[in-house]
Amino acid sequence: MSLDLRVQTPAFEGPIDLLLTLAQRQQLDLNEVRLADLAWDYLAGIKRDAAEGRSRSPDEVAAFLVVASRLLALKAAALLPSATPEDEEEDLESWEEQVRQRMVEYARFKEAAMELMKRHQEGGISFPSAIEAEIIPMEQLSIDPGGLATAFQAVLDRLPAPEEVQFELSSYSLTDEMDGIRARLRMGESTSFGAIFEAAQSRLHAVVIFLALLELIRVGEASFRQKSVFADIEVSLGKAPAVVSARDLANGDE
């Protein structure tokens, strides 16, 4: 936990955390601060609390002790070098060196932190997508629209214009058309794409036949084959793969 303790001294006024930070950065001379006063003030605070029936948590007291002992160590390091007994001198030197290194290390991270802050506040932020997975195109209808459209258009072009049949439309059933195509496919080895549409009475009828054909291909009851580019597409009864890719149409290999 962090310490919410304010100190008041002639040299510094503010949170004790900040005092430590400034001292570590050597932006404040600890010689100007009487650490004993800090300790007495803190003890006085505890007594005051106790008189009012409140007690401080061990965590908070421990946090104060950590900060206070660090302040003490820093101050000692600043005062030390001259007056030390000889046998302890080496230990103290290495201790002093450790403190110094830690301060250097801290300064570097402080700098890195400033850089992070600058980037965060001045640079832009990256955002992830709010996408939902369900918008993915589905595979079973990924039949190459280009190759089929050409063939389909050829069929449509032979049909009368829609105005002429507008009021003659009857209902067409996909199931019936599927049955029709099945029957036709069972008769011969294969039939041409164009021939399947010969029965079409109108553009709408052709659409329904077309969808029936797609459905048969999708469930694997029929398959496509094109011997060369621009050649008529052959439709046959098929255990062929459910999905016909553009490559299958283009290659036309046996």
Binding site: A130, I136, M138, E139, F152, M178, E215
Partner: protein, 184 residues
């Protein structure tokens, strides 16, 4: 830049000088982070540009995406970035998404009529199919394959229906015009 530019409040002035390329990048980021379809007008506003300025920007973005795994879909006044159908195998392998159950033959028929005759009323669909289409149409609406497209200016102002972006995605085509042979 258009002469009578109507920059909405809050849009920064320096966007006026932005190049197609720069705006295309921003549009890409917007479409990506949004993830869904957006009205062209709203997209233009977010970019701080006039709606007429959007078209070349989207063209630029479509070109930018030419050799990518994503593509731009435009339908009516809606714009959306989606994955290319070529990647669908891999996408499915990763996400194992819910495959919408097979459509019934009745649903296929209704969908075909809506697709090629849109916008169309329920009555017109029923006239062609010869049966009540209430339930099957509800199903298509619920699946997000068909949507309402305003109302017909006729007695009773019946609702008009059209196909959705999702319909195009299921077919793996970018625009309605890419549907196989559209009868007039």
């Amino acid at each position: 830049m258009s002469s009578d530019q109507q920059v909405p409040d809050g849009a920064v002035a320096d966007h006026g000088a932005a190049s197609d390329a720069e705006l295309a990048r921003q549009a890409e980021a917007l479409l990506f982070s949004l993830g869904t379809a957006i009205e062209a007008k709203r997209l233009a506003d977010a970019l701080g540009i006039d709606l007429r300025r959007l078209e070349p920007v989207l063209d630029h973005l479509a070109r930018l995406l030419a050799d990518h795994g994503l593509m731009l879909q435009r339908h009516d006044a809606l714009v959306q970035m989606v994955t290319r159908p070529e990647a669908s195998d891999a996408v499915r392998r990763l996400l194992n998404p819910e495959v919408p159950g097979r459509l019934s033959p009745a649903a296929y028929e209704t969908l075909a009529i809506v697709a090629y005759r849109q916008p169309v009323t329920k009555a017109s669909i029923e006239e062609v199919r010869g049966v009540d289409c209430e339930r099957v149409l509800e199903g298509l609406l619920a699946r997000g394959l068909v949507e309402e497209r305003g109302r017909l200016d006729a007695p009773g102002t019946p609702r008009l229906f059209g196909t959705t972006m999702r319909f195009l995605q299921l077919l793996g085509v970018e625009r309605l015009e890419d549907l196989p042979g559209i009868p007039d």
